[in-house]
Each structure stands twice: as C-alpha cells, then as structure tokens.
C-alpha cells in the first residue's frame, strides 16, 4: 500500500509509492566528459572570469593571478546585479521591481575536479568558511534580505557542461517563498509547542534510527520522512541555531567531514549521480524591531541534498505533491551500507 506522508515543517504531502518502488541499482547515474583545457575556473585562467571578490591565497600571490586555493567571482551571466535601485512598482494587477541582488560563484578548488566528494576535507572546510564569510559580507548591504547558497553538480542538475567543482550564492531583495514557508511553519510549531520543530525531528530520528544515514560530532544526515526524491538527504546540526554563520571553526570541520561522507556515499553507491544541494539558513534579521520575534528559537539551519535521478513531471508541477519511488527508510539503509 502506498503511503502519504506530510512534511512536518511546510506541510507538503508526498506519495511514497511502494507499488512502483525501484531498487537503488535501477537508478542510473551517467557522466559526460568535458574539455578541461577550456575550463575558465582552473588555475592560470583567472583572466577568463570577472575579477575576484574574495580569495583564499598566500600573501605573496597577486589578486586575479595564480597561486590561490579558492576564489569567489561574480557570475559571468548574473540574473541579479548589485548596482541600481529596487524601484518597486505596479503594472495593473501585477507587481514589478528591478533585478537587484548579487550572484557569485565559489570556485572550490584550483584543480579540475568535478565532484565536491573528491575534494579533501580540508578543502571542503575552506569552502564552508567561505560561505560564512560571503554571507556576513552580503548582509552589510541593507537592500538584500536573503542569501541562498547552492550547488548544481552535473548537467542534469542545471550545472552546465564545465566539470569544475563550484557552488553559487544568490542574494535576493525579497525573502523567497520557499524560505518563508519554512519560517512560517517552524514559527507556528514553536508557538504551539515552544520547541523547535527541527530539534524535535532530530530527536525522533535519533530515537527511531531507521532514517539515519550518518552521524558525526554534532551533525546528523537523514533521509527525511517525507522525502520528495529518491536518496534525498538532509544534514542538520544537532545544536540548535537558526543561522549558518553561527558555526564555529571546529563545527565547520565536522560539517566538512559529514558532507564529504554523504557526497562520497552518493557517488560510490549511485554511480556518480547529478545532484543539487542548498543551504537553508535564516534571513537577515535587521528589519523592524520585534518583527522576527522567535526566529532565533524556532528556525534551524540545514542542508538539503537532492540527487537528480528522476524527472520532475506534470503531476509534481501541478500539485506540489511529489511521488517518491523509494521509501526514505530504504534510502537510509542503502546509504548507511555504502562504504566510503
């Protein structure tokens, strides 16, 4: 019998379709090759990207020259730009404003390595530090309200043809809908229970164990109860905090270990699938006093990893209901057993 399960945070129903369940080996990853001599993100080709905003590089190296460890550059085709005004206006019954914001690319390594799973833990720690630094810097711009950190790996995830490990940051002048839904859902839960819904979720998962993928020093990786996609994985900090930037240096090292473990399990177990990940963190909380009220208590930052193994089709677009052909308990069991 198929099951309907409800996401406890935003109230989205998913169908766990046991009748059409597929075994892990029936999902196919596939990897195309690319021409690495044309990659604009490799060391020595700094002139092929816009000038860097941020870099981790030794003191004796020069900006926009070789010798770096990690670089952040503006997107070459940004959808949102930092220059200009928002200019909110109406057009009949429609609302419009200018595309103000920021769009940055984090080049995670100077080597032509495609999958973050293949970077060292030390290098991943640098990437995680950089996210924090960039979010803190973007927060200084009063026009911006939210920063989404995300990664598109592989063509099927919208990651393009260049196979050089990178992630992106987009800062938006309004709080995005998906984020608002999570904020509203966790606030509602908090109002009633006076507890964080994510903390409760972690407690239940640790007690039930069947959806745990990995657990390590302050972090837990789970297959969410109401997963939308096969092998969807969330990484949550056990220590409550609404904001990613509150992580200390040790915690970021531990997170790097968990992230590398999960990404390597996906790579090994599923034949290097395309994936997206996103970091959901609290918006900048600098508006009207009292506006955010309990957000420090009620929201809990986390990472969502979504392997792209099945196509999102008409049904999902139309309803917002997802059909997940693999129960998350099986996702977790399979990934727990993959040795990395």
């Amino acid at each position: 019998m198929p099951e309907l399960r409800k996401d406890p945070i935003i109230g989205r129903w998913v169908i766990i379709a046991t009748e059409r369940a597929r075994r892990p080996d029936q999902f196919e990853g596939h990897k195309e090759q690319d021409d690495h001599s044309a990659c604009p993100f490799c060391e020595g080709r700094e002139a092929n990207t816009p000038p860097e905003i941020y870099a981790i590089r030794p003191h004796n190296s020069t900006r926009n020259g070789p010798g770096w460890d990690l670089r952040v550059v503006p997107s070459i085709a940004p959808f949102l730009r930092v220059e200009g005004d928002l200019d909110r206006r109406g057009n009949g019954l429609y609302d419009v404003m200018n595309g103000l914001g920021a769009h940055e690319v984090v080049i995670e390594t100077n080597q032509h390595i495609a999958n973050m799973a293949d970077l060292s833990e030390e290098q991943i720690t640098k990437v995680l530090n950089c996210y924090s630094d960039r979010i803190i810097d973007l927060e200084k711009d009063n026009r911006l309200k939210y920063v989404l950190v995300f990664k598109n790996y592989g063509k099927g995830s919208g990651g393009g043809a260049i196979r050089h490990s990178r992630s992106q940051l987009i800062a938006t002048p309004v709080n995005p809908k998906r984020v608002k839904e999570e904020l509203a859902g966790s606030r509602q839960y908090y109002e009633y229970h006076e507890r964080c819904v994510f903390c409760d979720l972690i407690k239940q998962e640790l007690a039930q164990k069947e959806r745990i993928i990995a657990e390590f020093d302050g972090f837990v990786a789970i297959a969410p109860f109401a997963a939308r996609f096969p092998f969807e994985t969330w990484i949550l900090p056990k220590k409550h905090c609404c904001d990613y930037t509150c992580l200390d240096a040790d915690s970021r090292r531990h997170l790097a270990h968990v992230l590398k473990t999960v990404l390597s399990k996906l790579k090994t177990g599923l034949n290097d699938p395309d994936y997206n990940y996103i970091i959901h963190t609290a918006p900048f909380r600098r508006q009207k006093i009292g506006y955010w009220k309990t957000i420090d208590q009620d929201y809990h930052w986390h990472i969502e990893i979504m392997p792209r193994l099945s196509k999102v089709a008409g049904f999902e677009w139309g309803t917002g209901f997802y059909i997940c052909p693999l129960p998350p308990e099986e996702t977790a069991k399979f990934l727990r057993e993959v040795k990395v």
Binding site: K6, W13, A17, F150, K177, I278, A313, W317, T319
Partner: protein
Amino acid sequence: MAELRRDPVVSRWVIVDTEHPSKPEDFEYEQYIPAGGLCPFCYGNEFMTPPEISCFRDPSTGANTPGWQVRVVANKFPALQIEGELDRRGLGIYDMSNGIGAHEVLVESPYHNKDIPELLNGEIESYLKMCCVRAADLKRDSRFKYIMVFRNYGPAAGASLEHPHTQLVALPMVPKNALEEIHGSRDYYNYRERCIFCDIIRQEVSDKARVILENKYFISFCPFVSRFPFEIMIMPKQHSGYFCHMSGDEISALAQIMKDTLGKLKKVFENLSYNYIIHSAPINGEADVEYYHWHIEIMPKLTQVAGFEWGTGFYLDPTSPELAAQYLKAVKE
C-alpha cells in the same frame, strides 16, 4: 537590468531577464524523436494494459480490442490505490495516511506518433470530452478532494511511454500548489469581489503584448510571471471553476486553441518535450467556485530547474513572456 515580477495569485517572485533575453536558438534542449517499438497503447496490444475503465469506440467492437478512439485504463504502476480507507495517523511529530486515490491513463488516440497538433479537431474534441467524463465520474467519490489532469510529453517531461497519453489522479487532499492558488484568489475575491483570473484576462486582452491566440471562448497567452521560458496559459473567458463543466461548443473552441497554440510552440521548438496540467477547483466542498477559475498551464522543457529554484521557490526566466509571445505569434500556420 533584469526584472523581478510577482505572481498576483500565489505571490511567487520570478526573475525575468529583460536585458539579455534568450532567443529560441539559444536553448539547447533534449530532442525528442519517438523510436517506436512495441507499445501497450497501440491497436492490437490492448491485452497489455489493465482492462479499460471507459472508452469511445465503434459500437461493433468489443471492450479491450481495437476500434477505439480514446481509451482510459488504470495506471499499471499506480502511485495511489483506489481500495481502502485513508486512515490518517500520527507517527511522533509526523503525519501520514494510506495512499488512497485513483490513477488513470487516458490514451488520447490510436496513433503512436501523433501529438495534439497533428490530430484532427474532432479527435482532440473526443479526447477532451473523455477528460471531462472521467473527471466528472471521479468527482462523485466523496473520499476525493482534488482531481489533477496532466500530461507529460517526451522523456524530458517525464513520460515513460511514447504513445501520447494524459493522466488523471484523484487525491484525498487538496495539494499544496492548488491550495496556494485558492488562498490567493480567495483573498483577492474577498477584497475586490472579483475573480482574479477574470481580471488577469481583462488586463492581458487590453495589454495585448503577451496574447498568442484568442477565440470566442478561450485565450492563450504567455503569463506575465512565467517561471519557464515560453510558458503558456490557456484560460476560458467565461468564469468557471471546473473544466469538466465545459459545453460542447466550449470543447470545440478549446480543441482549436490547443491545436493551434501547441502547433506554434512545436514549430518554434522542434522535437520539444513539454508538460501541461489542468488546474481546476477542488471538489466535495473544499472550495468555492466563485473565486476560482480553471485553466491550463503548458510548460516546455527547455531549461533545467536547479538548486536556486529548489532552494528558494524563485524562478529564473531567461526569455520575457512578451518576447516569447512575439515569437509564437509570428509562427505562420
């Protein structure tokens, strides 16, 4: 500078690239060329599907044999199961229920290689009529709260079989996207005492910039807040909550506008995969049809939805709907 536009119904923001818009030739999309082969939906293979639930066929032919025009069968791999009780229950902080619902497949025509633009008007009318018949029938089951009609055409749109088909799913709860539209249109109605979709049609007709086609009963246009390049909306001009209440004349008009609109889209993008979905009001007391207005959303598969969209619910549209409408209008039939 790009523009941010807000959907007036569900309040979703979309980033429209008005500065360096992508033209049709800029899209590299997965080409869909049917390969043929053994097909459970072709004449003579009726035994390969579950038995038919409903069918328009030559009266001299028997059930589950050739001679039909439109055929509806249960999905062989249903996402939901029709028998049983919902049995809502909690599991710690989680909520769940049994997967009760209906999942039907509607084979649109006997032709393996004919998409809607290649069918005759009468054939499309039979197909649409059958969608109405099935929706009206499923509506009678009081366990169901919503009926979703959708079509995946081509592998990039998630179709696993080539033979063109549409699916119907009856759900025991109103899905999130439908709820958002209903809440948005209800709020608008409470304030203005008008249907927001009727207002959208009025504004589109007077703006003209996004309209593709219009006939007596229907209008097709690229929505002001398109999530995807070349997204298209088809709406009935008369206010109506349920598509299955269409009259015969309206069905003919819809067949015509679908054939022409999809024909234009497929001339601009050959071998395109696309989805469309019919948004209709919830059933069995879940909404008031005063403020909801049924419509069809067509989503061409030209781009990939990536991390940013998943993370934020923001969409990036590289081609403004005004430009998309221009290209579509310019196609000669």
